[in-house]
Symmetry: C2
Subunit: 83 residues, 2 copies
């Protein structure tokens, strides 16, 4: 489970995975995030010009968030495995 998000594609994949994990359709997620289904579709397919506010809204709707960390550090998920 890598939550690394260096490219729009990676972010799109993570959004899609998180959405399906919650058994939500794009339309349902769109409603919760206050955007359109089309917007979710574009984001999940790696739209590089997506707006920051849009992505933040979608992540929030999925109960996720961004963290900014130095490159190459161990991810929270990796460290969790210690416990």
């Amino acid at each position: 489970m890598t939550d690394l998000a260096r490219t729009p594609q990676q972010i799109g994949n993570l959004v899609r995975r998180a959405r399906k994990k919650r058994d939500l359709s794009q339309t349902q997620l769109a409603d919760q995030a206050g955007v359109r289904q089309e917007t979710i579709s574009l984001m999940e397919t790696g739209n590089p010009a997506a707006r920051l506010e849009t992505i933040l809204a979608v992540l929030a709707a999925l109960d996720l968030e961004f963290r900014i960390v130095a490159r190459g550090k161990a991810s929270p998920a990796d460290i969790e495995d210690i416990f």
Copy 2:
């Protein structure tokens, strides 16, 4: 040190702090990221409609990256303190 990035403002603040830590001017960072100084200025002041690709380019230039995690989890920085 919180690397939490839930809002454009928080992201802007983190970018500014990381830039200053490296003793870079907005112009220098802009050059490295392949954008304009104006764009850095807007981003640091919390531009909510910044483009994803632009933010990713700036983070990369600062040797930073996004990670997507569940809300409320301990940050990598916190866990680092263990070591």
